[in-house]
């Protein structure tokens, strides 16, 4: 596969991804920001009526069972899956080559597999103030009962479309278009300054 370069540190420009503690961290670091750089980011879509077959195919390939319901998802720390639209799912793997694993499982009768690995940037925000910082960006309910672990949401921050998956009680993975990733990352850093943040 073509070697990927993070949009957050494009040489020879000044790197945006400055590791270390920033902002008001004297009273503690309340959020940790990182770029997770998964090897595979796929979008799977089922033809109408083929949703169950697609969900079963996702289970075959990833071993992850999708709970029922809109926006439901699950993660095992290595692979993640969540619904982001009716009959459509985002599937992520730390390893490359997930698209070819799906090639023989999601047949043209069932639906489509689109490899977005180079088109999306995955940003993780974790920590006790993660919900609070994200609530400044997105007009959705981040409380745990409304947004359970594993679930995904499609929304946007101004015109930056974002898919968000909760991968822990106080951890969220945000998938943004690669071309918007730098500006979104900078905005996320500014929003995190007042709670103290660390970039890993």
């Amino acid at each position: 596969m073509v070697e990927r370069q993070s949009p957050l540190e494009p040489a020879p420009l000044e790197p945006e991804l400055r590791t270390g503690s920033h902002g008001d961290f004297e009273h503690g670091v309340d959020v940790i920001l990182s770029e997770t750089r998964p090897g595979s980011i796929l979008q799977l879509a089922a033809w109408p009526g083929q949703e169950k077959e697609l969900i079963s195919g996702i289970r075959t390939v990833t071993g992850l069972a999708l709970p029922d319901g809109a926006g439901a998802g699950s993660t095992d720390g290595v692979k993640s899956v969540f619904g982001f639209a009716p009959g459509k799912f985002t599937v992520v793997d730390e390893a490359e080559g997930l698209a070819s694993a799906f090639a023989n499982v999601v047949t043209p009768d069932i639906g489509t597999v689109t490899d977005l690995s180079h088109g999306r940037t995955a940003i993780r925000i974790a920590g006790p103030k993660a919900e609070w910082v994200l609530a400044k960006f997105f007009a959705i309910d981040f409380a745990l009962p409304a947004f359970p672990v594993g679930a995904g949401r499609s929304t946007m921050h101004h015109d930056v479309f974002a898919q968000i998956q909760r991968t822990g009680a106080d951890q969220f993975d945000i998938y943004v278009f690669r071309s918007f990733a730098r500006s979104f990352w900078k905005a996320l850093c500014h929003a995190s300054e007042e709670v103290g943040y660390e970039v890993q």
Binding site: A70, A85, P86, A139, S154, T155
Partner: protein, 98 residues
């Protein structure tokens, strides 16, 4: 104004794009019925009350929705996926009032 997307739940109207009057019925593309085309392009109910509309959740799940919005109060009384049945209850409701 909040629109409750059947997939995503309640979301701010800024995430949605208005796709036009939901009462229109597009003639078959090969149709040469000029009256039908004229009605499709120009005729609108313009009700003061419940109005059947098509919206797209463009900043979310991107589904097209049939929305009934009150043009006087902005109250949304019904939201459903546009896919499938084209004749929603709301449509007859709107026509009945006009």
């Amino acid at each position: 104004m909040l629109i409750t997307c059947p997939y995503c739940g309640p979301r701010d109207v800024i995430e949605f794009t208005y796709q036009g009057d939901g009462n229109r019925e597009r003639p078959q593309s090969a149709s040469q019925d000029l009256d039908a085309w004229n009605a499709y392009v120009y005729d609108r109910l313009n009700p003061a009350g419940d109005h059947n509309e098509i919206w797209q959740h463009s900043g979310g799940c991107r589904a097209h929705l049939r929305v009934v919005r009150n043009t006087l109060t902005h109250e949304i009384s019904s939201v459903a996926f546009a896919r499938g049945d084209h004749k929603s209850v709301a449509r007859h409701k709107t026509e009945g009032k006009s």
